[in-house]
C-alpha cells in the first residue's frame, strides 16, 4: 500500500510539471504583454505614457529575461507560495484569489457530494424497479440532464426565478459579506446560496452517474449469487445492500477523475452566468487583459484541484479494492 502511494505521488510530480509548462505556454501565447496593451489603451485615451516607468516595471517582473528563465522564476515562485503580481488589480495574486479558490473548492466538493447522494438514491431506485414508470421518467430526465449545458440551465433557472418569484438567485453569498473576513454568518450565507450552483453544475454529472450505477447494479442483480440468495430466502433489502449495491458503487470513487474536470469546467462558466465570486469572471477578465500571472494562477489552481482530486480518488479506490492495492495499478 505504501509502495502504491509513493508510486502515485511520484507520477504526480511530472504531471504537475507538464501542466505548469503548458499553462505557461498558453498564457504567453497572446501577442504582446499586459504593458503593451496598456500603453496602447493610454495612447488611445490621449494620456502621456512614461515609457521609462513601464520599462522599469517590465524589468521588475522579469519580462526582459528569456522565456525559460521567466518560466522557472514563475515555477519556483509558486512552489514558495508567491504567485506573482496582478497588474490589472495592482495587488499580489495570492490576495486576490485566496478566497475565490476556497469557494471554488467548496462548490466543487459540494457538487461531488450532491452527485453522490442524488445518483445513489435515483440509481438504486431505477435499477430495482427496471422499466417502471419512475424508471422511464428518470431515464428521460437523465437524457435531458446530460444534453442541457449547465450554463444554459443556469440561464433558464435565473429567468424562471426572476419571472415567477421575482428574486435573483445569483451570487455565492449576500452582498454585505463580500470581501469580509470569514464569520459564522458569512459561512451560513454561503451555504444558503450554494444549492443553486451545485444543482446547476452537478446535473449532467448526476445524470451520467445514475446511468452507470443503474447499469452496474442491473448487471450485478442478474448474477447467480443474488439468485441463490433470493432462493434461500434472504429478505430483499438485505439481499440488495449486502453485496450487489456495494460492488456497483465502484464508479462513485473511480469516476471522480473524469467527473472532476467537468465540475471544475462547469463552475468556471456557471460562475459567469450566476455572478459567483469564484474563478469564472475574474479569470475571464484576466485573460482579456493579459494579466498573465493572475490568469496563470487560476489555470494552475484549477488543474491542481483536478490532479489532487484524482489522486485522492485513486488512493481511496486502492483502499477499497484489493486488486489495485496488490497489483499497483488501476484495473480498468
Amino acid at each position: 500500500m505504501i509502495g502504491y502511494i509513493v508510486h502515485r505521488l511520484m507520477v504526480m510530480i511530472p504531471t504537475l510539471l507538464i501542466v505548469s509548462a503548458l499553462v505557461f505556454i498558453i498564457i504567453q501565447l497572446p501577442p504582446g504583454d499586459f504593458f503593451e496593451t496598456q500603453i496602447a489603451e493610454m495612447k488611445a485615451r490621449g494620456e502621456g505614457v512614461d515609457l521609462n516607468q513601464i520599462e522599469l516595471l517590465r524589468r521588475t517582473y522579469g519580462f526582459d529575461k528569456p522565456l525559460y528563465a521567466q518560466y522557472f522564476g514563475w515555477l519556483f515562485g509558486m512552489v514558495q507560495g508567491d504567485f506573482g503580481h496582478s497588474f490589472a488589480h495592482n495587488r499580489p495574486v495570492t490576495e486576490l484569489i485566496g478566497e475565490r479558490m476556497l469557494l471554488t473548492f467548496i462548490v466543487s466538493f459540494a457538487t461531488i457530494v450532491f452527485i453522490w447522494v442524488v445518483s445513489f438514491a435515483i440509481g438504486t431506485y431505477t435499477a430495482t424497479r427496471q422499466y417502471s414508470l419512475g424508471d422511464h421518467f428518470a431515464t428521460f430526465m437523465g437524457y435531458l440532464g446530460l444534453a442541457t449545458p449547465n450554463f444554459l440551465l443556469a440561464l433558464v433557472l435565473m429567468y424562471l426565478a426572476n419571472a415567477w418569484f421575482d428574486t435573483s438567485i445569483g451570487g455565492i453569498m449576500d452582498d454585505q459579506f463580500r470581501n469580509q473576513p470569514w464569520t459564522w454568518a458569512k459561512a451560513w450565507s454561503v451555504l444558503e446560496h450554494l444549492w443553486i450552483p451545485v444543482i446547476v453544475i452537478g446535473t449532467s454529472g448526476t445524470a451520467g452517474m445514475i446511468r452507470r450505477l443503474r447499469a452496474n447494479l442491473l448487471d450485478e442483480l442478474q448474477k447467480q449469487y443474488v439468485v441463490t440468495g433470493r432462493a434461500k430466502g434472504l429478505p430483499p433489502r438485505r439481499l440488495l445492500w449486502k453485496y450487489p449495491l456495494r460492488v456497483s458503487l465502484n464508479p462513485f470513487i473511480a469516476d471522480i477523475g473524469s467527473i472532476l474536470p467537468d465540475v471544475v469546467s462547469g463552475s468556471a462558466i456557471v460562475a459567469v452566468v450566476l455572478n459567483l465570486d469564484i474563478t469564472g469572471r475574474m479569470l475571464l477578465e484576466a485573460l482579456a487583459a493579459q494579466d498573465m500571472f493572475l490568469a496563470g494562477s487560476f489555470l494552475m489552481f484549477l488543474s491542481v484541484l483536478v490532479v489532487i482530486g484524482t489522486l485522492l480518488s485513486d488512493l481511496a479506490l486502492a483502499v477499497l479494492d484489493p486488486r489495485i492495492r496488490l497489483t499497483g495499478g488501476p484495473a480498468k
Binding site: 504531471t15 501565447l29 444554459l152 429567468y159 435573483s168 474536470p261 452566468v273 475571464l284 489555470l299
Partner: protein, 395 residues
Amino acid sequence: MNDHGAGGERLTHFVSQEPFNPVIDAELTPEQERFYMASQWRLMWWKLRRHKLAVIAGGILLLLYLSALFAEVVSPYELSHRNRTHIFAPPQPIHLFDKGRFVGPFVYGFDRSVDPNDLRRVYTPNPEKVQPLRFFCSGGYRGADYEFWGLFDGDFHLFCPAEKSATVFLLGTDRLGRDMFSRIIYGARISLSVGLAGITLSFLLGIVIGGIAGYYGGWIDNVIQRFIEVLRSFPRLPLWMALSAAIPAKASPVAVYFAITLIIALLDWPGLARAVRSKLLALREEDFATAAELLGASPRRIIGRHLVPSFASHLIASATLAIPEMILAETALSFLGLGLRPPITSWGVLLQETLNIQAITITPWIMTPVIPVILTVLAFNFLGDGLRDAADPYK
C-alpha cells in the same frame, strides 16, 4: 416417455413420406440467406433502423442540417435585416382559426404604443389584423432579398408575411429589430458546421496519434499515454477560454472561425485516440494482421487498410457522440465573448445577449436559441447511442 397423449392414448407412429434430406439442418430459408450474406454495413443499418429513437434523432438532425444549408430560403428575413419599427417585438404565434372561422396559418398584426411610465415600446396583438402567411413566396417585403451562399441574388422563401406592411416574427425580434427565428436558422449554419469541422480535425489527430501509440506500443505508447492523461486532467473549459483569448482581436471573422474550430479539436482528440489505441492493441494480435505483416505490408498499410476499417463503425459512433460536445464548446465560448464574434452569427453569439438578466426578464424570447442547442445535443446523443449499439452487429 412422451409418446402418450394427454388422455393417455397411444399416438400413431409417424413416418414422413418425403425423400430423406441429410443437409436439411444446414439449409437456409431465403430470409436467413439474405441475413447471412449481408455485408457488415447492411447489418448495422438493419440494427440501427430498429432503434426508433436513433432514427427519429437522425431525422431531426437531417432536418436541422438541411435548414442550415438552405438558411436563406427557410428564414423569412435576411440575417442582418433590421426592422427599425419593431424593436424587441414579442413572438407572433401561428393561429389557424380566427373567431371560430378557419383561415389557415396566420398571425395577428401588432398595434404599437409607448408605455408612458418607462417609455418602453409595447406591442399588442390586434385581433382585427389577420395576416395569413404566404408559402413558397417570392419577396415583396423589406428584408426578403438575400444572396444565396453569397453567390446568387434571390428573394424566394419558404414562408413570408402577408403583405408589405405585415410582419412574421415567429420568435420575436432582438434589440435591433432583427427576426430571432431567421437569426437562429442562420446561426445553425455556423454552430452545426463547427461540430463537423472540429470532429474532422480531431478525428484525424485521434486516428494518427492513437494509431501510432497502438501499433508501435513500447515507449512511444507510454509517452503518448502520459501526455493524454495530462491533457485529460485539465479542466477543459478554462483551457479553451485561455486559448481563445490568444486569438488576436483584429483577426478576420473567417480566421476566428477556423481558430476556434482548431482550439476545440485540440482538446478533443485524446478521447478518440484512446479508443483507437485500445482497439488497435487488440486487433494487431489477430491472425489477419500477422498475415499482412508477413506478406511485407508497411505499418501504414496495415493500419490504414486492415485495422482501421475493422473498427471504423466504432469510431463513427464515438465521433457522433463527440460532436455535441464541440457544438457546446463553441456555444459556451461565444457566449462568454471569447469565441466567435459578430458579424458571424452562431447560437452562442445570439445567447451573448442573454447575459444581461434584466433584459431577459422583459424580453424572454431572446433566450430561444437555447432550444435548438439542446435539441441538437439530444439528437446527437440518441443517434450516437443507436450507432454504438449497432456498431457491432454480430453481437
